[in-house]
């Protein structure tokens, strides 16, 4: 009798050991199966963006990038507009646009894509926050026969570009609940959703209802992994076929690795400093020019971004071919010129080396955020460059919303961020908002220029090609002279692609990964 509890304990120990051993064995055997699945017929895409929502405006473009859903208007590899769900579009008159629907388009639930379904989806997008459509002068979105007709309050030439924005993706009526919230993503693209596992995984498979060329790769898994180093190791080990969002250091290392190729495209995105024009020191254009001259952009691009070509010489990167002006005088590093400009603006060196004017030290704070990993390191380089010319810059690394919040309450001095000028494929739409006379959260602050406003408004109403080119040149020149935002660097997006996969093209507008055009290498 006395031995019963001891026996029980002994048995428990044996059982525990068996369970542990079993766990270890299961792990090992599953491992082999798991790895086989990854390297089998499913394309593994790995990126930094997590899956937090099914809503078009808050799903981080994942469902258009995976080609599950379509927008009326799409874009090509040059960033130009091309047919999406709409095969063509034109303006009936100044304030009426007509979009002709692709008649063979079918949603993944088997229902045809009708003009009514498109209008319903657009109306939901229009009624929600976070879509550029909400900011467009739309009076009514309606149906005329098989066409979608958009009536405007005023002429707006960029409407097709706005309808290429991912927040205007068209989902099947069965995707929404009675309140217009998306419960399931049912699109009309080449791939249909098989499973969504927030926050990390989306599985898609080729849709039987797709009316175009069937994708060569039928099964795709998207996986979000937040650390760039981990993604690089996944690419290097062959676990992922397409790896996105690479950091400069990992990218440099992967260039020497066998079995992977690096694809790059310059994005219409500029890393820039937003400057408070109402700040007693920063309101002076001479000071803004001095700040710009103090920056060693070439050094920062070479040492920190590992990509010397990304040193910004003007606001618009070469990837925005229509907007980039080859004949503009480039922004250059000249610390002596910066000191001279600051002296001209009345700033003199104080006892501790920091500039002083009327007893006030030149102390400012730069706000930035870590979502794009290069921003904090660029901020410290800017801090050193400013210290070199006598400006005491504090760096505050926090949340991205601190910049718009600081704009609203007027406490922002300088904000460092990457601005996507092709959020809507026509940069004029973003510029019109960012450099509106009253300023904007991600654009000008306490600064406006009548000529710039007039040029942008004229473009919005519609200009012929020659006039539009002149207006763009004028906008670029004003930005270069006045520096309401100070350009720091341009942006290159890179993807590491395993050699098992062929046909990768990167979208400069980051709207799609064009996975349906990929094939397995022989």
């Amino acid at each position: 009798m006395a031995s019963t509890p001891t026996l029980r304990t002994a048995r428990a120990i044996v059982a525990l050991t068996a369970v542990v051993a079993l766990t270890a064995c299961t792990t090992t055997s599953d491992t082999r199966d798991g790895t086989a699945a990854v390297t089998g017929g499913t394309l593994s895409v790995v990126g930094p963006v997590e899956v937090h929502s099914l809503e078009p405006a808050t799903s981080s473009e994942l469902f258009t990038r995976l080609q599950v859903s379509e927008t009326l208007v799409a874009t090509d590899a040059d960033g130009a507009l091309r047919a999406g769900l709409a095969t063509g579009w034109h303006a009936d008159d100044d304030t009426t646009w007509r979009f002709e629907l692709r008649p063979t388009a079918v949603f993944h639930d088997g229902e045809p894509v009708t003009a009514d379904a498109v209008v319903a989806a657009l109306q939901i997008a229009y009624d929600k926050e976070g879509s550029p459509l909400t900011g467009a002068p739309v009076a009514e979105i309606g149906v005329d026969g098989d066409d979608i007709v958009v009536r405007l309050d005023e002429p707006f030439a960029s409407l097709p570009a706005v309808l290429a924005h991912t927040s205007t993706q068209v989902l099947a009526p069965s995707s929404y609940d009675e309140d217009g919230a998306v419960t399931e993503v049912i699109g009309s693209g080449p791939y249909a959703i098989s499973a969504v596992h927030p926050p990390q995984r989306i599985e898609v498979t080729a849709s039987e209802h797709w009316d175009g060329t069937a994708p060569a790769i039928t099964d795709v898994t998207y996986q979000a992994v937040s650390r760039a180093e981990s993604r690089a190791l996944m690419a290097e080990s062959g676990q992922s076929d397409v790896t996105l969002g690479m950091d400069p250091v990992s990218l440099q290392r992967l260039q020497d690795v066998d079995g992977v190729q690096i694809h790059s495209v310059t994005l219409p995105r500029t890393i820039q400093m937003k400057v408070n024009g109402e700040h007693p020191a920063l309101g002076d254009p001479l000071v803004r020019q001095a700040l710009s001259a103090a920056l060693d952009r070439q050094g920062m691009a070479t040492a920190l971004l590992r990509d010397p070509e990304m040193a910004a010489t003007q606001l618009f990167p070469p990837s925005l071919a229509d907007w980039h002006q080859d004949d503009l005088t480039a922004l250059e590093h000249d610390a002596d010129e910066a000191r001279r400009l600051l002296a001209e603006a009345g700033w003199e060196e104080g006892p501790d080396g920091i500039l002083v004017r009327d007893g006030e030290r030149f102390e400012i704070t730069l706000r930035t955020f870590p979502d794009r990993p290069e921003l904090p390191i660029l901020a410290t380089a800017i801090q050193a460059a400013f210290a070199d010319v006598g400006i005491d810059l504090s760096v505050s690394i926090s949340n991205s919303s601190e910049i718009p919040a600081g704009h609203q309450d007027g406490t922002l001095d300088v904000g460092l961020y990457a601005r996507n000028y092709a959020l809507v494929p026509d940069p004029a739409v973003t510029l019109l908002g960012d450099f509106a006379p009253e300023g904007s959260d991600w654009g000008a602050m306490g600064w406006n220029d009548e000529d710039l406003t007039a040029a942008l408004e004229a473009m919005a109403e519609g200009l012929d090609d020659a006039q539009a080119a002149d207006a763009r040149a004028q906008v670029a020149q004003i930005m270069q002279d006045e520096l309401p935002v100070i350009p720091v660097a341009w942006y290159r997006q890179s993807a590491v692609v395993n050699e098992r996969v062929a046909g990768m093209t990167l979208d400069p507008l980051e709207r799609s990964w064009w996975l349906s055009e990929l094939t397995w290498s022989s």
């Binding site: 790895t35 650390r227 955020f369 919040a405 959020l423």
Partner: protein, 315 residues
């Protein structure tokens, strides 16, 4: 035993109220506008602006007095309703369940691996204190403890994923994904368990009751299983309990390196986005886990400890 469980249940209720209220107050006192932070979480850095923040403020009623919002949370809690995330608008119970499941899965496999390797090594080392195996074990333990889990994780990925190609480097969703993060945690744990087991076994072997067991003619195996392991188990199980807590709450670095969507991941996101109910729910889940694990440790040590005649714990 029942008295202990009753007392622990009451503790759990108290902990839940205190922790969730403290979280609420702390988040409210952090700098930054809640509405802007939540909008940044929802719309991303390209789209967050004053208009989206105002939309969030109106939708969530963030202008209401803080006490009303706290009362609402308490009322929800009383109905066992954790509400929905302010950022993703998904059910917090679902999101928490997913994150907690992932963390527990990782911690359980790591603990199991750590125990198996550590206890075996420790027991073997204790067989001849000061012998070659004991010295080797000490060396391995010091080595594994000196390596931070982050570096260890990277080394494991380089060896098993990049060079040997037998395990996936990172990610979640397949059974094999747990192997490397669990191993990264288990190696450090195994070292600790080996030390504790070795010292405790040596100590127990030197006691009079073990010597008596030998004297009365029990063979080595019986002495080990009936007397040494059982008595050592009391110490080791308590220690495993403490380590389990540290493990579940301290795997943030490993979760981040291996892209593992656990509690650490959820909590970091929620704090960054000021997703107040999600922070409260996550913190409460962690606090309750402490209560549950402590209770489990007390109950199991009471069951294992041969000394008390009545299987009762003084709470």
């Amino acid at each position: 035993m029942l008295r202990l469980l009753r007392r622990r249940a009451l503790q759990a209720v108290g902990v839940t109220l205190v922790v969730s209220t403290a979280c609420f107050v702390m988040i409210r006192t952090l700098p930054g506008d809640l509405a802007f932070r939540i909008a940044a979480g929802r719309y991303g850095y390209d789209q967050v602006d004053a208009a989206s923040a105002e939309g969030v403020r109106a939708e969530l009623g963030l202008d209401r007095p803080a006490w009303q919002q706290l009362l609402e949370w308490w009322a929800g809690l009383a109905r066992l309703d954790l509400g929905t995330s302010l950022v993703t608008r998904a059910s917090i119970a679902d999101e928490l369940g997913h994150a907690l499941g992932a963390s527990l899965h990782l911690a359980a496999v790591a603990l199991a691996m750590g125990c198996l390797v550590g206890v075996t090594l420790g027991a073997a080392a204790a067989h001849r204190p000061g012998g070659a195996l004991d010295k080797l074990t000490t060396l391995a333990v010091v080595g594994s403890r000196a390596l931070p889990p982050f570096i260890l994780g990277l080394l494991l990925i380089l060896v098993f994923a990049v060079h040997l190609g037998v395990l996936p480097a990172a990610g979640h969703g397949q059974a094999s994904n747990v192997a490397l993060p669990a191993a990264a945690l288990a190696i450090g744990l195994a070292g600790l368990f080996a030390r504790i087991t070795r010292d405790t076994v040596v100590q127990v072997r030197a006691t009079e009751y073990v010597q008596f067991a030998r004297t009365k003619g029990l063979n080595g195996r019986l002495v080990l299983t009936r007397h040494v392991l059982r008595n050592s188990g009391v110490t080791v199980v308590s220690y495993v309990g403490v380590q389990a807590l540290i493990l579940i709450e301290g795997v943030i670095v490993i979760e981040s390196l291996f892209g593992w969507p656990g509690l650490g991941h959820a909590l970091v996101h929620a704090v960054f986005w000021r997703d107040v109910p999600m922070i409260q729910a996550t913190a409460v889940a962690l606090a309750l886990l402490v209560v549950v694990i402590n209770t489990a440790v007390d109950v199991s040590t009471a069951a294992m400890d041969p000394r008390p005649r009545v299987k009762e714990v003084t709470p």
